[in-house]
Amino acid sequence: MGKSVAIIGTGQTRHGRRQDVCYPDLVKEAVEAALEDAGITLKDVDGVVLGTMPSMMEGVSSTHFYFAEAMGSVGKPVLKVETCGSTGQSIGHCGFFWASSGMADIVLVVGSEKMSEGDGQATMNTVFDPFFQRTFAAGAPGVFTMQSMEWMYRFKIPEDKGREAAAMISVSNHDNAMDNPHAHIRTRVTMDDVKNARIITYPVRLLDVCPASDGACAVIFASGDKAKKICKKPAWVKGIGFRGEEFFYGESDKAIWMSATEAAKEAYSQAGIKDPLKELDVAEVYNPFTYQEMIFYECFGFCPRGKAPDYVLKGTFKKGGRLPCGPSGGTLCTNPIGATGLIRMAEAALQVTGKAGARQVEGAKLALSHAMGGVDQFNGVTILGSEQ
């Protein structure tokens, strides 16, 4: 690890369909909230990092310029970082590098998306090369579902068991979102609702899939010295990991998923975590798809390979379970893509500082946050803790 760095404030918009505001005003909502939470003003900020999905999602290709006033970057150094769905973790890591390098005391990190302004799956298709893979993509659901099927085949998970566990994940995320005032989807669903929802990409159904949301999130990073001076209870960055994979989807093994596995491993090693299920108090896993969430559990060492459905069915990752996952309702209930991975980090920070309100996991001291991007090619993990 480099010089220590902490999160001293977070802010989120009300996520959902936000056609009431133009895109820069949405971003300002999150920035203002984060500044207020940290008790600082824009004058205290030394640098700004912005992240969104591939920038044609909303048809303005240079949002770091569109948001200049909304994120107060005029007269400051500014970076725009984007790694698809993993963007939120990447910009957090970038904020960490910057503050840890000693070149900035306070870095404002902003992630945003206004998916109601564009077509998410059409944009997602532009992620692929135009020669070989684009026309067979079927957006994110196509590839993520193929991965889930590959995983079930590999570990001989019966179709019914997979279906049951995935449905349970949907129900519990929807339940959790009821406790989160920022969440986009706030409706309870039943096991039957999920299992009878219309098919998107078989066996994945509508309630196995995240919504397309408008939303922004801002997180303020400070160098360790600065954090101790101005913040009573910062969330300390204990470990970060990120890994990329191959360009051709069919070249790597997505049932084992090197990038997710190794990103977590690196973050654990920096944070000194040996048994994540035991040592972590809470996890904010990036879960746009219920089935895929189970693969993450295995990659992150929360359970043995192929056993995630069993652990899910016995309630390990539910509220009150051994390792509560997604107390915020997760990506499954809120997905403004460029913000989503940073929301995971912000939620983890709220948890370890005891500021998570109705969704607080009692006494949480060590939290994992995560995001995934591309078509399974990128995974980023950040571990936050209440102690330096």
Binding site: G59, A122, G139, G142, M146, Y202, F248, Y249, G250, E251
Partner: protein, 154 residues
């Protein structure tokens, strides 16, 4: 009462001229002749389809051209039953990862030639390891759709 806020609806279209380079040009020329061409790394011995100009594992350019088998097995698949902007086919349709015999990676393509009306039957037919074979388009344009789809064998 006047609406307080409005949206503006518009498209952005951008023109492209994508270069295939030597390797991919030859790969697509192969498709036109109903050949699926790959390259084999002379260092690690792995065979990649579509052909690569360098080995993704070894980062070396010493590769030799090979013609791959037109049969392979399904590694995974899904039935797409939702419409997205930019799709070339109308749902429902099946996409899959297919591993051609003798190669060391999978390719993405459609699986066709099956009745999609009964999901249970689809599920029985399309399993991991199920054998499929390339079906060629009658009209060839030297692009990936020269393979119309992969169809189950037997």
């Amino acid at each position: 009462m006047k609406k307080e806020y409005r949206t503006i609806i518009n498209d952005v279209a951008l023109p492209y001229k994508w270069a295939l380079g030597r390797t991919w040009t030859r790969f697509f020329d192969g498709l036109k002749e109903e050949k699926i061409l790959g390259t084999k790394c002379l260092q690690c011995g792995k065979t990649f389809v579509p052909a690569r100009s360098f080995c993704p594992d070894c980062f070396v350019s010493e590769m030799e051209w090979v013609e791959a088998a037109q049969e392979g097995t399904i590694v995974t698949w899904t039935l797409v039953d939702a419409e997205y902007d930019g799709q070339t086919r109308k749902p429902p349709y099946v996409i899959a990862l297919v591993k051609l015999a003798g190669t060391d990676c999978c390719i993405n393509h459609y699986v066709g030639g099956i009745d999609l009306s009964d999901l249970k039957k689809v599920r029985q037919k399309l399993k991991e390891g199920a054998k499929v074979k390339a079906v060629w388009s009658p009209d060839k344009k030297a692009d990936i759709h020269d393979i119309a789809y992969f169809a189950p064998v037997r």
